[in-house]
Amino acid sequence: MIRFANLYKQLDATTKTNQKVAALVDYFSLVDAADAAWATYFLAGNRLSRLIPTRLLRQWAAEAAGIPDWLFEESYHSVGDLAETISLVVPPSQSQSDRSLTDWINTELSPLGQLPPQDQQQRILEIWSKTNTETRFVVMKLMTGGFRVGVSKGLLIRALAKHSGVSPDVIAHRMMGQWEPNRESFEALVNPDETGWEASKPYPFCLANPIPADKNINHLGDSNRYIAEWKWDGIRCQIIRRESQVFLWSRGDMLMENTWPEIEAAAEKIPNGTVLDGEILATNSEGSVLPFDQLQRRIGRKRVGKKLLHEVPVVFHAFDLLELNSEDIRQLPFHSRRERLEVLFERLNDTNLKTTEVVQANQWQDLTEKRSRSRENLAEGLMLKRLDSPYSVGRVQGHWWKWKVAAETIDAVLIYAQKGHGQRANLFTDYTFAVWDGDALVPFAKAYSGLTRQEIQQVDRFVRQNTNDTFGPVRSVTPQLVMEIAFEGIRKSKRHKCGVATRFPRISRWRHDKQPADANTLSDLHRLIESYREPSSDQ
């Protein structure tokens, strides 16, 4: 465990990916396969099931430190992280247990969940008495869940590849699905024999570059050299159909299993030796697209139930064909790939598999007009793809463009502030904004990002000097600062006090030129909702 705590410290101390990879490789070479398996498991974002309610952990930590509960909470507000607060508040121990990570999990942590609370407390106090601040922090992180240390899956894969000499693609593939943290799994993960996985292998995704909202579209040249499609907000996905198997890969090297059973079933109709690229979208029975929050209900579940399958049906909208008859055709020009795609889909004839609709237009002017109606179609804008372009790797300039419509904005007044977490634990960075409803300010959105560091510092100072009331970590401040809030979508919501919910609200700029009285009103928000025509469900 000391080694693992040390690894955590090293990963946490640097932002340089090379140093992180080096620290990981070092760790893997030092520990046995069982420990390496657990480390991989946690770094990949998995967690132990909740063993003890955090409410009890806070209480016991305060007791162990000899401080009242309110003082523990004060400390927590300053630190911004529960595991860290516990590890700091409880007096450090003189002795250090040097048991391995695996021992810790199997004998110290996992059995905790089964014990009655008194015994749990006893065990926790023992754990605290044999850990120093650093190790205790990592142990508490494992217990309280949120184990994040700036290691992406990609970085972990790189480190494992470097450690084992196995190619990163193979590691990525082997990490998919149910991966058990034990010696055998880890040995299989780094096994130098790379055969037997090619069937599932996806192609690197081709990515689009954004066209700045204010840039003249004419700089792209002749509009007839492009195909335009709606830019939906769905799940980008490659369907791999080889050797009578189906694999669905999302961007970010995630193999998706059991999330989209209707698409997996439909894909079995596709002939072997085919790879498609497209977008999974929630679609109602009339064929129109549903908002992303509906689609989101299907993600992150182990199994999708009947009810959900019925409520949020999904369709794979294919826009590209990368492999046909087991032949990699990515170098063919886009228009030829598209023709082959359409021929293939005519034969398939399945309601869960469609090709994307091509937005017909003659000139940029025509397209610009179509784009301005994106919202009516629940799209974010248009995609423009050059007809003669190959399917390139990554974000190659000039092949694919995303042409989003500008975000909506609302001027709102800052009324509450709260300290951030992690890197911003001591600054007021999380704000709540309000609009006018008659002569009352009603909160309508929380926004975290969008200000420069300098501005954050100014707001922070303002909050400290203009606090009127505190509710736990939240400060209510004099309504004085006006900011422009941009967002991607807006709809009615029963869950929100003001009756309105926005998507991705963020601060677009600080309106120093405006007074609180100049801020928008709730009826302005309702007018915007009308213009969106989104369903008013809020489930």
Partner: protein, 345 residues
């Protein structure tokens, strides 16, 4: 008990003796606890401070002021009020101010710490009726490790950097922290270089009679071959500036009590954080309050409300007189330091 000290917009004031302690704006008569810029401000007519801190104070304030420098324990009479200065252990020349009037004793700690520090006289407890303490680190999360261990880890970090061909850059405040760090460095490891502001502070310490390891001010004549073996003492505002370019491959570290918090460390994007503070931590603060054995405790800048509430809960009458938290001020200074893009010199 009627306090002999009161709060005013310019800071703590003794009306009977007509003087201020660490006034925040120019006044007629100022008693200064120590030479940090948030305590020793420019522009007053008359300054009373400790002999130990004379050279440091003169760096800070106007030369045309009237000065009176006294030894620790020496009593000065002001309108029937007896003032004496006693070591606070914070930085060279730092004092607690003891004020006595008709048998009633008030002690103002200024900034202080209880652990030994080779660069200044050690803190001593003074029992009093009215105790006014700082609370910069007044939360139970602040608990300083053994300073010898931290100093060892700094030397170890330096050695590791040398082995990897990196120059070590260690940040600390120009007065106090840097000299304490210097005293803990192992000069046999390699050359110790200094940033201009730090060198000035070191010179003032030397002028005050302190023996410190040899240092070398970073200027144009510095030869390249020295650099990878060196440790550079610099002010935090140099972080991220082009001044650092001359050192090539570097590893950076900050020495501060705030390093206790992971979020704070990460926000500063330094490679290392060393937990060295010149303020009292939570256990020392409680110990100091206990030893003062006062009827009333006032808690000044820092986590003053938290500390006052805790003391009251535990039977020690206390009141917060915090005027904005130190945390914020220092935080602000540090953010400024990092935002600053101009080369420091």
């Amino acid at each position: 008990m009627q306090p002999i000290i009161e709060q005013t917009s310019a800071g703590l004031y003794c009306p009977i003796g007509d003087f201020y302690i660490d006034p925040s704006r120019p006044v007629h008569r100022a008693v200064i606890t120590h030479a940090h810029s948030d305590h020793a401000r420019f522009g007053s007519q008359n300054y009373l401070s400790s002999v130990e801190g004379e050279h440091l104070l003169r760096l800070r304030v106007n030369a045309d002021a009237e000065f009176m420098f006294v030894k620790y324990g020496e009593v000065v009479n002001r309108g029937g009020v007896k003032i004496s200065l006693h070591p606070a252990g914070h930085i060279l020349g730092s004092s607690q101010i003891r004020i006595e009037h008709r048998g009633q004793v008030t002690v103002i700690t200024g900034d202080y710490k209880l652990e030994p520090d080779p660069t200044c006289s050690p803190w001593e407890p003074i029992s009093c009726h009215h105790f006014i303490t700082e609370s910069t680190f007044g939360l139970p999360i602040f608990r300083w490790p053994s300073q010898a261990t931290v100093q060892d880890s700094i030397n170890h970090w330096w050695k590791t950097n040398q082995e990897e061909g990196r120059c070590s850059v260690l940040y600390g405040y120009a007065i106090g922290k840097s000299q304490r760090l210097l005293a803990g460095l192992d000069p046999s490891l390699g050359p110790i270089l200094t940033h201009g502001a730090v060198e000035k502070g070191i010179q003032a310490y030397r002028d005050s009679g302190l023996a410190l390891a040899p240092t070398r001010y970073v200027d144009q004549t510095l030869t390249k071959d020295l650099i990878p073996k060196s440790l550079v003492l610099a002010v935090p505002s140099a972080h991220g500036t082009s001044w650092l370019k001359r050192f090539g491959k570097i590893s950076t570290a900050m020495a501060s009590g705030w390093c206790m918090m992971r979020g704070w460390r990460r926000r500063r994007s330094m490679d290392q954080g060393f937990l060295i503070s010149d303020h009292v931590d939570w256990p020392s603060l409680l110990k100091a309050v206990q030893l003062a054995d006062a009827e009333m405790v006032w808690v000044d800048h820092g986590f003053s409300q938290v500390v006052a509430r805790y003391l009251n809960d535990n039977g020690q009458p206390a009141k917060s007189i915090g005027r904005g938290s130190r945390e914020e001020n220092e935080d602000e200074q540090n953010i400024n330091a990092i935002l600053s893009t101009e080369a420091a010199s």
